[in-house]
């Protein structure tokens, strides 16, 4: 078998592994990919990512703990989890089709941005207080529980909220903060 044909097979296998949900949590662990694709799986993922770019999709990695500042080592990759996500942004219409109301998305944005600003940890009472500004009171608790169930947030026994695995996989935290900062400066400009 030629090298090209070999990689084509690996590419298909990687796509099957990444697209189909096989565990309770979506995504595939690095070591699983190594077992199924071989030790050159980072290269296979790179090729697949380039192919998916045409479809506005990308391969995203969520590392255990903090994101490595430099190029991740093979060991860090093995312990990381790989997903296929949308590459660009979504429109509000697309969000509605996925079952999320605009209120739910705004609530999630508020909770996440607040936790990021509070260094990754905020008390549930403070987040609820902030959400009550934007959502009807009876929905605040329900929405927070929904974000926790979906894996965006987690809560400890002291009612402290943290960002969870799905946020690390799906949300560009820096972009979110930057967009919030820019939004206000735009508003100021409009006022002028």
């Amino acid at each position: 078998m030629t090298k090209k044909a070999q990689y084509q097979r690996k590419l298909k296998r990687a796509a099957h592994l990444l697209f189909y949900k096989r565990h309770r949590r979506p995504g595939v662990k690095g070591w699983e990919l190594r077992k199924r694709l071989g030790s050159d799986y980072p290269k296979v993922l790179g090729l697949l990512d380039a192919y998916l770019e045409r479809l506005d999709l990308q391969i995203k990695t969520a590392f255990e703990g903090e994101k490595p500042s430099e190029k991740p080592t093979l060991d860090q990759m093995d312990r990381g989890r790989f997903f296929v996500t949308i590459r660009g942004g979504m429109t509000p219409k697309e969000t509605k089709m996925s079952g999320w109301r605009i209120d739910d998305v705004a609530g999630l944005a508020i909770a996440m941005a607040f936790i990021i600003a509070k260094k990754g940890k905020a008390s549930r009472d403070d987040v609820e207080d902030l959400l009550r500004d934007k959502l009807p009171g009876w929905r605040v608790d329900i929405n927070l529980d929904r974000y926790i169930r979906a894996g965006y947030l987690s809560q400890d026994e002291n009612r402290q909220l943290y960002l969870d695995w799905r946020t690390r996989a799906e949300v560009d935290e820096k972009a979110l903060v930057d967009l919030l900062l820019a939004a206000e400066s735009n508003k100021k400009e409009e006022a002028k």
Partner: protein, 280 residues
């Protein structure tokens, strides 16, 4: 007799007590910073370490050493939080939390959602059934009764088509005669009329009716009059008297004042006593 080098027992005990108090305060301070997410730099580590060191020679029992080690452990946690704090400040993600909070409060829901959509890249996944799920489904299917048996139990009735008037629905208690808010407004008008120039009316004089059922209904509606700001209660705890004071305009206190619940017992005996006293 020389007293040099002699430490009176009571003074040693006092020092130990004082030291234990200091350590406990250190532990509490560190705990509150940790749990409430306060600025970790309000804890002066050098000073507190000096206090721990000062009392260390006094400790003898296991309990005292445990307290000492707990204080050290708490201080170590604060140092870790301080280090994380510095690390976070040096990253590009650092933004003043108050600034972010202010922005989150100012921006509309729609704007926040549309901003978030630019930073959100949801996972794409396809759900599929596993072999385990398939086995479970087969088991469920095999345990189902045949359709004719299941349908026999349901026992559907065939009825003639007909029409119902609004009055029929009211009689069947499917629809209320008046809308809830309409009913509330009527009761509010009655309350203001009954109060007249007195500004208030005794609770039982207002909710009390000829039947216990009607009394319960009036008490239920009155609770909404108070909750929705149409009236308020004046409670005289010593005399065990409750008065209802109607407002001329409904006042919304939601979010302005701490809401309190006032339990008022409206049982049959109470109603009977009120009715007897009224007819006496």
């Amino acid at each position: 007799m020389s007293r040099k080098g002699f430490t009176p027992l009571s003074s040693k005990k006092q020092r130990k007590k004082l030291g234990a108090g200091h350590l406990q305060r250190i532990i509490d301070q560190c705990k509150s910073v940790e749990e409430r997410g306060l600025d970790p730099f309000i804890v002066d580590i050098d000073d507190l370490i000096a206090v721990v060191r000062q009392y260390f020679p006094e400790w003898e029992s296991i309990d005292e050493y445990s307290l000492d080690s707990e204080a050290i452990n708490r201080l170590a946690s604060i140092i870790k939080i301080q280090s994380d704090w510095v690390k976070h400040r040096s990253t590009s993600l650092y933004t003043d939390p108050f600034l972010i909070e202010e922005k989150l409060r100012k921006l509309s829901r729609e704007r926040l959602a549309s901003l978030f959509l630019n930073a959100w890249h949801p996972i794409i996944e396809l759900e599929q059934i596993s072999s385990y799920g398939m086995i479970e489904a087969i088991k469920y299917w095999q345990s189902l009764l045949p359709l004719d048996e299941r349908w026999a139990r349901t026992g559907a009735f065939k009825t003639e088509l007909g029409s119902a008037t609004r009055n029929d629905l009211v009689a069947e208690r499917i629809m209320a005669e008046r809308a809830f808010t309409e009913e509330l407004e009527v009761l509010w008008c009655e309350l203001r009329e009954r109060v007249g120039g007195n500004a208030r009316i005794a609770y039982w004089d207002f909710v009390g009716a000829e039947t216990y059922e009607e009394t319960s209904k009036r008490a239920y509606m009155t609770s909404f009059l108070v909750t929705y700001g149409y009236a308020t209660f004046e409670i005289h705890r010593l005399e065990e008297e409750i008065f209802i004071v109607p407002f001329s305009e409904p006042r919304s206190l939601v979010g302005k004042k701490q809401a309190v619940s006032i339990p008022v017992e409206v049982n049959f005996e109470e109603w009977k006593r009120w009715k007897d006293s009224k007819h006496a």
